[in-house]
């Protein structure tokens, strides 16, 4: 990444190479797509009914996490103080 502070001349790891992080990203997208498609191939034993609908756990997890992060980001406006706030 642009803000890396890897010392000059140190061994380059796979993750240091440009493009590797992008590969990880698309790998995650691929795994999610595969897991979503798996829903076509087995019978879901729903415990509540709606949790047996197509891809429920997938979209619910995605929406929850986006909501969680965006909400927490907004909360910072109210909750964030300087690091030494309690020492003053």
């Amino acid at each position: 990444m642009a803000d890396d502070k890897r010392p000059e001349g140190e061994r380059e790891y796979w993750l240091d190479r440009p493009g590797s992080v992008t590969k990880v990203f698309w790998a995650v997208v691929g795994v999610c797509a595969a897991l979503g498609l798996l829903d076509f191939f087995y019978h879901k034993h729903a415990e509540l009914g709606f949790d047996g609908s197509f891809g429920f756990q997938g979209w619910y997890g995605f929406v929850c996490c986006v909501f969680l992060v965006l909400a927490a980001k907004e909360l910072r406006k109210f909750l964030k103080r300087d690091e030494d706030y309690y020492d003053r």
Partner: protein
């Protein structure tokens, strides 16, 4: 001989030898004693031991049944792992505090009466605070003081409740109770404080990250899980706990996302995990109670593992702030792997311990039809993966390269993390090992296609959300900051309120004092006027006027006599 000592007391008594032992023997002692305790416990048959009557009360210091045994086993295992992790420490105070603390926690889960419970309850508080204070410095001292006050308050409430309970029922036995009178409410509140219920929780996020590298590993295991045990013993099936627990799973994860101190992130995450156990206790069916106990067992291992990996980073790098870390997988590859095992376990990935434990609670909630609670728990599960599963390893070991280079963690730390990681995977792969020791008989199969694929979908799509937010730079960066939580009320709010009102209060006091002094002065003046040297009553009367008045009186008397 050791087997005849009550569980827990063995560790407390053995801890007394630590200061006088030579260095090498002391290191061995801290690991061998809890191991001997575990061995003695495995041989112990269920039943009541050493019961006695004193001042008309029936004491049951050792009650062994399946519920207390689950917690007894895992507390011993945690004590062994934490002791190995702390082997390099050359501070006898920490070793003693750790062993007494572990012993008190173990004693508490075998206490059959409320007074014995109280004694161990307070011993836990007093012993554990030394693990915070041992860090040194003003911040640790103050944080430890706040921690101690809260913990002791919990003990005082417990004792008050126990006395009232004994007064009302004539028994101090620690059994199932119903919320309905002051006695049981006080006991419930005492448990709630140590279980970090919402608004009673901040001692946890305050003190745990301030403790020593090794101290936090001890702290993460005992206090809160002893409280979960106490709730499972005293208040199973109390419906309020379902909603309290659901709130506990949800609100700390928002803080975990924006917190910079990675050990504090884990403290918030610990609070969230307790929520799952509290929901299980609140549901109260055998399956849900199994879920709570099983979750506590698995949780102690992976939470200790996560705290150990972050402790190793703190020990080697000198900071645990997300904003200053990154790229450490190059320097600490083994610690990275162990951290990822802990992260996968807490996130409940299939084949890791969290999966087989959390599945019980989630299924129990679904079976009882609490749809909203189930949705909250699923939200919290996705959130756990987000902040503990991804954020912790990502910001410490990956993210951008901070340029920091250090040595791998010391050997003893690696061994401790290795044992915990092995157990996390072993339990996940071989669920009967955990299900077999749970308090109630269980016929449950966690590895069904529905469970496994559903859980993988939840987790991988959560990972996708993280990846998308990072890739498009929406994810909030780690910032040096303090985030306000409820402890603001007693750390800033109330002191500020007093400071704000102080001039007015002082002026009012001065006015009151002035008015009182003025009134007093007037009263004294009046007395002086009446009885002072110049006062009416102190005046001397000349002889002539006295004779005249006597003559007048006599004349008047004669007059009245003749009339």
């Amino acid at each position: 001989m050791i087997a005849s000592l009550p569980p827990g007391l063995l560790l407390i008594v053995a801890a007394l030898a630590i200061p006088v032992l030579p260095d090498a023997a002391r290191r061995a002692w801290t690991v061998v004693v809890p191991a001997a305790g575990l061995w003695a416990l495995i041989a112990l048959e269920p039943g009541n031991y050493l019961a006695f009557a004193w001042f008309g009360a029936e004491f049951q210091p050792v009650r062994v049944d399946k519920l207390s045994l689950v917690f007894g086993y895992i507390f011993h295992i945690a004590a062994i792992i934490a002791a190995i992790y702390a082997l390099h420490v050359r501070d006898s105070v920490q070793h003693m505090a750790g062993m007494v603390y572990a012993g008190s926690g173990i004693g508490a889960v075998f206490a059959g009466d409320l007074v014995t419970l109280f004694v161990y309850w307070e011993a836990m508080a007093v012993a554990s605070v030394f693990l915070v204070w041992a860090r040194g410095g003003e911040a640790a001292y103050r944080s430890g003081m706040r921690y101690l006050i809260v913990q002791i308050a919990s003990g005082v409430l417990l004792l008050s409740g126990a006395i009232l309970q004994a007064e009302q029922t004539g028994s101090i036995a620690f059994d199932r109770m119903d919320l309905g009178n002051l006695a049981t409410w006080l006991i419930f509140l005492a448990f709630g404080i140590k279980c970090a219920f919402p608004f009673l929780h901040n001692w946890l996020q305050d003190a745990y990250p301030e403790a020593t590298v090794t101290g936090t590993v001890f702290l993460s295991a005992f206090t809160t899980k002893a409280a979960v045990y106490a709730l499972a013993r005293g208040f199973p099936g109390t419906e309020m706990l379902i909603y309290v627990g659901a709130a506990m799973t949800a609100f700390p994860i928002f803080y975990a996302v924006i917190e910079n101190d990675l050990r504090r992130v884990l403290a918030y995450s610990l609070n969230n995990q307790l929520g799952f156990m509290v929901v299980g206790v609140g549901i109260g069916t055998p399956m849900a109670l199994n879920g709570a106990a099983g979750h506590a067992f698995a949780h102690i291992l992976y939470k200790a593992l996560l705290f150990m990996s972050m402790g190793a980073v703190l020990y080697r790098v000198g900071t645990i702030k997300g904003s200053e870390l990154g790229g450490l997988y190059k320097s600490m590859p083994l610690t990275t792997v162990f951290c990822i095992v802990g992260a996968a376990s807490i996130s409940a990935f299939p084949l890791f311990s969290g999966f087989i434990a959390k599945a019980l609670t989630l299924s129990a909630v679904a079976y009882e039809g609490y749809v909203v609670v189930w949705l909250i728990l699923m939200f919290a599960s996705a959130g756990v993966f987000h902040h503990s599963g991804i954020k912790i390893p990502y910001f410490a070991f990956f993210a951008h390269d901070s340029g920091k280079r250090c040595k791998e963690a010391p050997l003893n730390m690696l061994v401790a993390m290795g044992i915990a990681a092995f157990l996390c995977i072993a339990l996940g792969v071989w669920s009967p090992a955990l299900y077999g020791i749970l308090p109630y008989d269980l016929d449950y199969e966690p590895y069904t296609p529905t469970h496994v694929i559903g859980q993988l979908q939840l987790l991988m799509f959560s990972a996708l959300a993280f990846a998308v937010l990072i890739r498009y730079r929406i994810y909030p960066p780690e910032l040096k900051s303090t985030n306000l939580d409820f402890d603001w009320v007693y750390r800033k709010g109330v002191p500020a309120l007093i400071a704000r009102c102080w001039p007015a209060l002082w002026a009012a006091w001065q006015g009151l004092l002035g008015a009182f002094q003025g009134g007093l002065r007037q009263g004294i003046d009046a007395v002086i006027r009446l009885a002072g040297p110049e006062g009416t009553l102190a005046r001397t009367w000349p002889l002539g006027s006295t004779t005249l008045w006597v003559a007048v009186l006599l004349g008047g008397f004669l007059l009245i006599y003749y009339l």
